[in-house]
């Protein structure tokens, strides 16, 4: 076997996984979250099915609280690529006033993300959902299979997963059950950025540093896109040169102080960074093992 450099190897494996989904599943969909990992997934999908078109639709679970720049990027980029985008929102919960401050992050995520995702998948009749999650992101994800089985309620049983050997994937399910498929399982955050650099892949401008208005609380920088983000007495937003390291809902995603305004500068910052990628994601830290619990319930 020829030794291949790691990015080519990761790319080839991800392409293999995507083709396997399309060959064996009835109705796959790509869960598009607009972030950098989703941008990489789209490029891999283009490569996997070339010279044919991407043979599945994209599903975006829009909580209603995503950054404006994310939605603009989503509509422009998926339009340019000629992809079929489905947007699903849990309107009922939003009408009831769901937001992380009124409902708490656990209940808010449960309604706007988990419930919305399960409803969106059910409404589309999708039996396989391709997502951009990576095993290096969070410790319960380190154990998840590339083809991860979900029961009829969309739930994950971490103690009863199908063994996954070589690159042979078991895609068989009964009606009502589904698969989550993670082509980027073996990629690290650094791999993703190197690939974006090498392939010149478009990403949301929020990843690049520029002066933005933020609420500054100690080391935390809170975006002020949503009017319900509570302010301390006398608190006024300040212009801070910062960027987003990962993208989620604006009330729950902190920015980091940074002047990295190009992909190489972001990579340089990353290799000297001392905090993990999801450290600024409030929802990962609301209880011990919180990602594992959310995933069992059906969260991505």
């Amino acid at each position: 076997m020829t030794a291949r450099i790691h990015l080519q190897q990761l790319e080839a494996e991800s392409i293999h996984i995507m083709r396997e989904v399309v060959a064996e599943c009835q109705r796959p969909v790509l869960l598009y979250s607009i972030g950098k990992d989703s941008s990489v997934l789209l490029r891999l999908a283009q490569k996997a099915f070339f010279p044919g078109p991407v043979p599945f639709p994209l599903l975006h679970i829009d909580t209603g609280y995503k950054f404006k720049e994310m939605i603009e990027f989503r509509d422009r980029y998926t339009g340019e690529l000629g992809l079929n985008l489905i947007v699903h929102t849990n309107r009922a919960a939003l009408n009831e006033g769901a937001n992380p401050f009124n409902w708490g992050t656990q209940r808010c995520c449960g309604a706007l993300k988990t419930t919305a995702l399960l409803d969106g998948l059910r409404q589309g009749g999708f039996d396989a959902a391709i997502g951009g999650a990576r095993r290096d992101e969070e410790r319960s994800r380190a154990k998840e299979r590339v083809f991860s089985f979900r029961d009829q309620r969309g739930q994950w049983d971490p103690r009863n997963q199908r063994p996954e050997l070589w690159n042979i994937f078991n895609t068989r399910i009964h009606p009502g059950e589904s698969l989550r498929v993670f082509p980027l399982s073996n990629w690290t955050e650094l791999d993703v950025w190197q690939y974006i650099h090498a392939e010149n892949i478009p990403i949301v401008p929020l990843y690049f540093a520029k002066p933005r208005l933020m609420l500054v609380r100690g080391d935390s920088l809170l975006p002020i896109e949503q009017p319900f983000v509570p302010r301390l007495p006398g608190e006024v937003p300040k212009l801070v040169t910062c960027r987003m390291r990962s993208l989620g809902c604006s009330p729950c995603t902190g920015a980091i102080r940074s002047d990295a305004d190009t992909v190489p500068r972001i990579i340089e910052e990353l290799v000297t960074m001392r905090l993990s990628e999801r450290q600024n994601r409030v929802i990962d830290h609301d209880q011990d093992g919180s990602m594992e619990i959310k995933k069992q319930e059906g969260y991505f």
Binding site: I5, R19, R135, R139, K143, R159, L165, I267
Partner: protein
């Protein structure tokens, strides 16, 4: 530790260096208390692959458990049950990098009841680290771990003699364990061992060489991992391409998408399509990044052929100079992965490369006692058991022996009722195909554009036509017949239903 990271003053040089890095996948096997999680935590920590907030949460959770300072195992045990019980249950994948190389670790539990997890972790690994506790020496499980590495085709094994700090860094302890272990490895000539004395907890000989053991002059564990050659030594270089998908975006284009399992390919190469046996040549190698003049193992590409040939998912495109084996019956080593034991005579779904088919478990030749390597005569395989079996597939199986090709020589079995992955197989060769009996009495011919089937009982698809039975000794003709029978939904096995022909 800063030396493990790139100096920022030469950042563009760093990016160039990064592009050229290769990837080593390794697995770790060790029993409870051998210090495996600590070893991995140490590798991640010393290569600065652990971020401060992750370290803080491991330190926070350590409070209340009887461990000083950082509990490295808390960095790796991902599930809550594992953290609570202080054990590793499932395979976990870890990632770290040094300036020389990227690494993927399949971290697996070593206890016998987790043999299946160890096998899973080993299936994608090119190297295995086997941990031995310096105070306990070589145990029965050392033989088990070595056997699994050999069985899964891992040729490079590092034997890390851990907890050297607890035996006073004594060279004699290390040498005695090395001698005992070499005696075990004498049974596994394909394995190339490297012995290294370490203390994962104290960090001796993990990243840098230990001052506590001046008598040991070899490279540290990490130095060895960074420099050991990647890739197998005895794997075939013959071209093998399992077709994943037929790509037909328009009438002008017909290509075959897949990942090259082994060997390499260039336009103009003579190839054979299997199982049909038709020969043609490669016309082009198509990718999103442009047509290629050359592609090799591990690359995902789309091939076009110079002739239009009926070809579907699951077929192989292979080098005409070096054909794989073909048979309906295979001998295989099988690892049973499921709580429901193996049943002789039961039909399972088999997934081999990109093809799904039906297979009958014909025989269990023996079960291997994995601690003594003795062969037991049994009628079933329980979870975690390893044995040799004979399998018969509904359609002709094209394969290489696992020792020659880890992709075309491996398969999984799926229980059709539960859809659970119940077994992992490593093909050792073709089996006697005396089991073709169900079809022996049927023959066919094309008459006036119609296929005429004739059985010994005189049955014919065309009313009134008198079937003239043909001799079916030619295996190619027999395969063609099977292919047509399956399209006509004529059962290859008694009791077959429509669903059996799903692909």
């Amino acid at each position: 530790m800063a030396s493990l990271l790139a100096p920022s003053e030469s950042f563009s040089a760093f990016l160039e260096l990064e592009k050229g890095k290769d990837l080593l996948r390794f697995t770790t096997a060790g029993s409870v208390d051998d210090g495996k999680s600590t070893l991995i935590g140490r590798l991640l920590y010393d290569s600065r692959s652990i971020y401060d907030d992750q370290l803080e949460s491991a330190t926070k959770a350590s409070v209340g458990r009887n461990v000083g300072a950082i509990d490295f195992s808390l960095l790796t045990d991902g599930l809550r049950a594992e953290r609570e019980q202080g054990i590793t249950i499932d395979v976990a994948y870890r990632y770290f990098a040094t300036p020389r190389r990227k690494f993927i670790i399949a971290d697996t539990p070593g206890h016998e009841q987790y043999t299946r997890n160890m096998v899973t972790g080993a299936s994608t690994a090119e190297l295995a680290i086997v941990l031995v506790d310096a105070r306990k020496g070589v145990l029965p499980q050392s033989r088990r771990h070595s056997y699994i590495a050999g069985l899964l085709g891992i040729e490079r094994v590092v034997i890390a003699v851990n907890k050297m700090d607890l035996v006073g860094y004594n060279e004699n302890v290390f040498r005695a364990i090395e001698n005992d272990f070499r005696a075990i490895l004498a049974r596994f000539p394909e394995i190339e061992p490297y012995f290294v004395p370490v203390s994962a907890l104290a960090g001796d000989n993990i990243v840098s060489r230990s001052s506590h053991m001046p008598w040991f002059t070899g490279p540290s564990l990490l130095e060895h991992l960074e420099t050991v050659p990647v890739g197998g030594r005895v794997q075939t270089s013959a071209f093998r391409f399992p077709v994943q998908r037929v790509v037909r975006p328009s009438h002008e284009f017909r290509g075959y998408a897949g990942t090259i399992a082994s060997g390499s390919v260039r336009p103009g190469d003579p190839v054979t399509i299997l199982p049909s046996g038709r020969e043609t040549t490669i016309e082009s190698i198509v990718t999103f990044d442009g047509n290629q003049e050359y592609a090799s193992a591990g690359q995902s590409v789309t091939l076009t052929l110079s002739q239009e040939i009926d070809l579907s998912r699951g077929d192989f495109i292979v080098s005409s100079h070096h054909l794989p084996l073909k048979s309906h019956g295979v001998k295989s080593m099988l690892v049973w992965l499921n709580e429901k034991p193996a049943e002789i005579g039961k039909r399972y779904r088999i997934k081999h490369a990109s093809r799904q088919d039906w297979a009958i478990l014909r025989e269990i030749d023996y079960r291997l006692n994995i601690n003594t390597l003795e062969q037991d005569d049994v009628h079933t395989l329980e979870m975690n058991a390893i044995g040799q079996i004979t399998l018969e597939t509904a359609r002709l199986l094209c394969f290489d022996r696992y020792t020659e090709n880890r992709i075309t020589g491996s398969f999984i079995l799926i229980d059709p009722a539960t859809n659970a992955t119940v077994a992992a197989g490593m093909i050792t060769g073709a089996a006697e195909t005396g089991t073709l009996a169900p079809l022996a009495g049927i023959s066919w011919q094309v008459k006036d554009g119609a296929l005429v089937l004739t059985s010994e009982q005189g049955f014919s698809t065309k009313p009134g036509a008198s079937g003239e039975p043909l001799a079916m000794e030619d295996p190619e003709a027999l395969e063609a017949l099977r292919h047509m029978l399956s399209r006509l939904r004529v059962a290859p096995f008694a009791g077959t239903t429509d669903a059996d022909f799903e692909i």
